[in-house]
């Protein structure tokens, strides 16, 4: 236990991010996914034009919102994928590699979101 005290302190933060990401994903992702990835490109609903989308994303609050929408659910996913691999497939000997891969992926995604949203226009 005292070999890696840093892990013990990090775990609550990771769990809070998992939980917050679960809430954000549950409330916000279905409508975004349905509209932007299905209804608009497939013509089920009249898609907003480029100008409207540009105007929306130009607003700082919208960009902050999009940052949260992207970043927090990534940590939720990372946490769940980590434990699904750990328990589901019983890959326990690769625990460190999986943890670094999952949270590392979430961090890269978060940095990408921040970079893209910061540099628009």
């Amino acid at each position: 236990m005292d070999a890696k005290p840093s892990h013990l302190r990090l775990e609550p933060l990771l769990w809070i991010l998992f939980s917050a990401g679960g809430v954000v994903a549950a409330f916000l992702i279905p409508v975004h996914l349905f509209l932007s990835n299905l209804a608009f490109p497939l013509g089920w609903l009249k898609a907003p034009d480029y100008a409207h989308m540009s105007a929306l994303i130009a607003h700082p609050l919208v960009r902050l919102y999009l940052f949260v929408l992207c970043a927090v659910p990534l940590f939720h996913s990372a946490h769940r994928i980590r434990y699904t691999l750990y328990d589901g497939l019983q890959i326990k000997h690769l625990n460190e590699v999986i943890a670094v891969g999952c949270y590392g992926g979430a961090i890269i995604g978060t940095l990408a979101a921040g970079y893209l949203l910061w540099n628009i226009h």
């Binding site: 608009f40 996913s77 628009i120």
Partner: protein
């Protein structure tokens, strides 16, 4: 007491833990297990959604042509299928999450615990309102 009995030799007991070998496919054995794993797998599709979201933001930042190109990509049958599956999984995540929240959130009114159905009902109502507001923004106000 004879000294003989005290000199009896003891060997340390090394018990082997009895652990039944669990099949890698344990989660296929019961519907409850499968449902649990499907709920966990929803996280993969949440991550996929974020990737498409980042692609949309990137396309928007690149201009009109890039944006139209991305819309074209979203019409690819393979991508459409993936998004349909993702949508089912994401809704499954919402439903299981609200069910979980009803168990976890303890609200007391006048010393009595608010029943789970009201807590989850509140979550569903909130989900509807939030979705309507977001749709209103995206559809152009």
């Amino acid at each position: 007491m004879k000294s003989e009995s005290l000199q009896a030799r003891y060997t340390l007991n090394h018990p082997r833990w009895y652990r039944k070998r669990v099949s890698t496919y344990w989660w296929l054995q019961r519907w409850e297990y499968l449902r649990f794993v499907l709920r966990e797998v929803s996280s993969v599709f949440i991550a996929f959604f974020v990737v498409t979201m980042l692609a949309q933001i990137y396309a928007l930042s690149r201009g009109l042509e890039a944006y139209a190109e991305l819309q074209n990509w979203l019409r690819n049958p393979f991508v459409v299928a993936l998004n349909l599956i993702s949508f089912l999984f994401v809704v499954f995540h919402s439903v299981t999450w609200f069910g979980l929240a009803a168990r976890a959130v303890v609200v007391r009114v006048g010393g009595k615990r608010v029943p789970e159905i009201l807590i989850s009902g509140g979550h569903y109502a909130g989900w509807l309102v939030v979705s309507a507001i977001l749709a209103w923004f995206l559809l152009g106000g």
